[in-house]
Symmetry: C2
Subunit: 238 residues, 2 copies
């Protein structure tokens, strides 16, 4: 075994749930049974089950067992950190990315503040319009520290920036803070998007951190009102 036991158990169970092999609202094998099935210890099984619980796959009930939840309704999971490319593919819709801007620049004061840097650091600015069903409905503006990402190309930006950062550069993205609000469109929004007559735009600000807790990217996703949707799963308490 090279990989994590609890992760492989988790992935195996996710697979079985998503494929319908284990049906919604049915009882999973008990922890002790899973211990035997996977030939491991109970704490390891419990680690896998807690992951399933956190991610909304199952509900654990003391004295009764673990039950699968109806996970079918997650048709647009913006929850967590998901790139546009992953998302569009999951929805199976035709999509296109248009790279509007790609520049290395000294950031303006607002971006300096968002990234918590001073004017000396260079920043990549990427502006990309996202086209779904022949309408440009999302404008993604990324600001990436050049000290972390030395080189970038139009080709990379047309694909998945995330895949490049994690795959090619080996960066490990650890967590993100997200803020959703509504604002008035800027000139840029009108220029790059098919905004129709909408007088407002949904703004999602993303602050993205690496494994060492350093902030390295600020992204502003600007969504046309009627096409915006955000889904979240939250457990209460602790």
């Amino acid at each position: 075994m090279r990989v994590n036991k609890f992760l492989t158990i988790y992935e195996n169970l996710v697979e079985r749930i998503q494929s319908g092999n284990i049906k919604p609202n049915t009882k999973l094998p008990s922890e002790n049974e899973l211990v035997e099935q996977y030939g491991t210890s109970r704490e390891t099984v419990r680690k896998a089950l807690n992951l399933l619980s956190q991610n909304g796959y199952i509900q654990k009930i003391k004295g009764k067992g673990s039950f699968t939840l109806d996970v079918g309704k997650y048709d647009f999971p913006v929850s967590g950190l998901v790139s546009f490319k992953e998302l569009a593919e999951k929805m199976g819709k035709p999509w296109k990315t248009i790279v509007c801007e790609l520049d290395l620049e000294k950031p303006d004061p607002y971006i300096q503040k968002q990234l918590n840097i001073n004017g000396k650091d260079s920043v990549w600015k990427i502006a990309r319009a996202r086209e779904l069903e022949n309408e440009r409905i999302i404008l993604d503006k990324d600001y990436v520290l050049q000290s972390v990402v030395p080189t970038l190309s139009k080709k990379i930006c047309e694909g998945s920036l995330f895949a490049y950062l994690e795959g090619e550069l080996g960066l490990k993205i650890s967590f993100a803070k997200k803020e959703i609000s509504v604002d008035e469109p800027t000139e840029e929004d009108y220029r790059y998007l098919d905004l129709k007559d909408y007088k407002h735009i949904v703004v999602v600000k993303n602050y993205i951190y690496l494994e060492d807790a350093s902030l390295f990217q600020y992204t502003e996703s600007r969504h046309r009102l009627d096409k915006f949707r955000f889904v979240d799963f939250a457990r209460r308490g602790h």
Copy 2:
């Protein structure tokens, strides 16, 4: 000790971080040191630290230690499940709740679908306008299964519905699914809110589940555009 060890350790550390006793971006004691300080085992300490990590208080780095994050920017944590009352109090602003409607009724087809019931079940409908700084900016419409909550009063709705459900009735709320979108205002919105000239409204749909994974409440929070804000903290991967 009556209570959970790992929870008391967690709460103790949260307290120390939020009070500034432990400053942002500093190193916590190592796990082994915490084992000694709290007189417990390492797995228990790790359970507390993992909770801190999940909730955005610390970042754990292999080989180096656990470091506090700058948690100061969480001034409006709608993330997770938080009631309006808890929120308003946290912000320290004057707020008021106006109960617009309180009825026991047979739900219309849309609500039946949301709650996954048929027309025979009775449902409490509660409509409440939330007033902040003399403007009614949020309309909360709650639909609660009468089979779970037999009685309700105007007085209860003026306070915190959550506090009543969890405190008085002893219901245990386990998790919720949330969906954010933008829609056009209804007549109801115009009647109960100070909508100004805004032609759209932010809609947050909440599906709230009990410990046994049964859906018992559907809530629609309708926010005036300019006052809407949603903050989320998300860890990547697993």
